[in-house]
């Protein structure tokens, strides 16, 4: 099997050690870091996302695969910096105020990272000002909000409002998600998009930034 194929498979199976080893081998053999990223890491995470969507994978498998991907990404990073691979976008992500659920938000971060985005993780229980500050100070171009409680969903609207007040609404794309969220709710509060799971969040963001 060729190295890239082995890396893809190892990520899907969540073998972090093997991923590290094979990424080293690939680099030693002169394969470019960007090629390893685009032809092994990213497609592997896309496949993991698909398996989760289809109910084949659950949270544990997804987390283990994401960890394996990150092990590989860590080795590639020094080579990617300064090369032609720029982050495809910078995403400020958090669970909204009053809400402490972070498993889904973390999966979305990991998938985004696996797809080449730079992540600014604002954690959980993030008040609107946190998002506003991140957009103002850190040149973020995507705001991603997660909510798991019916009662905290409404905080998303407050954040969008705060961004408007600060005159920053047009600088960013806003995406939202979490179990109680729907497309109708996204439309109602004026978000740019809704994604039902982590891999959809990647597809959506790419579409909004016209990257695909």
């Amino acid at each position: 099997m060729e190295t890239l194929e082995i890396i893809r498979k190892a990520i899907i199976e969540g073998q972090a050690k093997q991923v590290e080893q094979e990424v080293k081998t690939a680099l030693d053999n002169g394969i470019k870091a960007s090629q390893i990223l685009y032809e092994a890491l990213i497609p592997a995470m896309a496949e993991v996302g698909r398996l989760y969507e289809e109910g084949e994978y659950f949270v544990p498998e997804m987390l283990i695969s994401a960890r394996a991907m990150k092990a590989g990404l860590g080795l590639l990073k020094p080579f990617l910096i300064g090369s032609d691979v720029k982050p495809v976008g910078k995403v400020a992500i958090a669970t909204v105020q009053g809400d402490l659920h972070d498993i889904g938000k973390n999966l979305v971060s990991l998938m985004m990272e696996g797809a080449g985005f730079e992540i600014v993780d604002l954690g959980v229980n993030a008040e609107p000002e946190k998002f506003v500050n991140a957009v103002r100070d850190q040149q973020v171009n995507v705001v991603a909000m997660s909510a798991l409680l019916t009662t905290t969903m409404t905080r998303m609207k407050d954040t969008i409002h705060a961004l408007q007040e600060a005159g920053l609404r047009d600088k960013v794309k806003i995406i939202i998600g979490g179990a109680p969220i729907t497309q109708a709710f996204a439309d109602e509060i004026g978000a740019d998009g809704y994604a039902s799971d982590a891999s959809q969040a990647v597809t959506l963001t790419k579409r909004l930034l016209a990257l695909s």
């Binding site: 659950f58 949270v59 283990i64 960890r67 402490l100 498993i103 019916t150 009662t151």
Partner: protein, 303 residues
């Protein structure tokens, strides 16, 4: 009136458990993001009143207001230092209402998940988890049964059971998991796997709670009953909430929950109650529905 869990089961009748605590606290004015356990100290009369209302409605088992009462979960609210206080206060509140009741009522010490993921999926070590559960179980001294609930990871269940046994090996343990993700728990555990693992761990009763509503739990109980003769517990949510203006409304009415109670009894559940979104009205409807059914039950199995 004081009784034991074993005596409640010995009656051979279906047993009625209580309904949601969080929901009741929210409607009493608790704000989102607040730790419900702090109300054991700040608003003891409200918590006691909720226990009394469930007993009045017919609950034979009430659970302490300690679902998020372990130090890891309380730590998310920067309240870890008050772990012991919140739990001991909760036991007193439930105990006093149960013992004063006209009929026998059992107090279950509610133990929910830490909210953190165990290694290798997360950062929490097994040692930290066991210690946190042991600390909570020690503070729950005085309950009739430890009630581990809403679990999604079997490793965390093992940690909780180990912690309980270290704290008090004589108190029986009930464990229920939440099967809300395509018929499995969030961590991918199937009802059959849960049943087998929990039986091997020697719990006195096992089952399912919370989730997306009655229909989901009915399927889970059916699967558990098919694969085991354990005493089964069903505590379904009253559906999922929707926002009506500023208040969250759950869609399952008391009538819907009464129908669920009769059905899930037929599917093999022995202890039946409800979870998030339910109120004493729902439990009254469940108690009435179960009272009108006369199926004597042996060893947890229906004849």
């Amino acid at each position: 009136m004081k009784t034991t869990f074993a005596d409640l089961l010995a009656s051979g009748r279906p047993v009625v458990a209580d309904g949601g605590m969080g929901t009741m606290l929210f409607s009493a004015g608790m704000v989102r993001g607040h730790a419900p356990e702090s109300w054991n100290v700040e608003h003891p009369d409200i918590v006691r009143g909720i226990h009394a209302a469930y007993i009045q409605a017919g609950a034979q088992i009430i659970l302490t207001n300690t679902f998020g009462g372990n130090r890891i979960r309380l730590g998310m609210h920067k309240l870890a230092a008050r772990t012991c206080l919140f739990n001991t206060a909760a036991v007193q509140l439930a105990r006093s209402e149960a013992d004063a009741a006209a009929l026998p009522v059992v107090v279950g010490g509610s133990i929910g998940p830490t909210g953190a993921l165990l290694e290798p999926h997360g950062e929490l070590t097994l040692y930290e988890a066991v210690s946190a559960f042991e600390e909570q179980a020690l503070a729950l001294n005085g309950v009739d049964v430890f009630w581990i609930e809403t679990m999604s990871d079997l490793e965390e269940v093992r940690a909780a059971i180990t912690g309980c046994r270290k704290a008090n090996a004589d108190t029986p343990i009930v464990t229920t998991m939440t099967f809300d993700t395509n018929g499995r728990t969030m961590m991918g555990v199937k009802p059959e796997q849960a049943t087998e693992a929990l039986q091997n761990l020697g719990v006195i009763a096992l089952g399912a709670n919370c989730g997306n509503g009655p229909a989901e739990i009915e399927q889970v109980i059916e699967k558990m009953h098919r694969s085991s003769s354990a005493v089964l517990v069903a505590k379904a949510n009253a559906g999922l909430p929707h926002m009506h203006g500023d208040i969250a409304v759950y869609d399952a009415t008391p009538e819907v929950m009464a129908a669920y109670a009769s059905r899930v009894l037929g599917q093999g559940a022995r202890i039946i109650g409800a979870c998030c979104g339910s109120t004493p009205d729902h439990i009254r409807a469940i108690a009435n529905a179960l009272q009108n059914i006369d199926t004597p039950i042996k060893d947890g199995k229906h004849s």
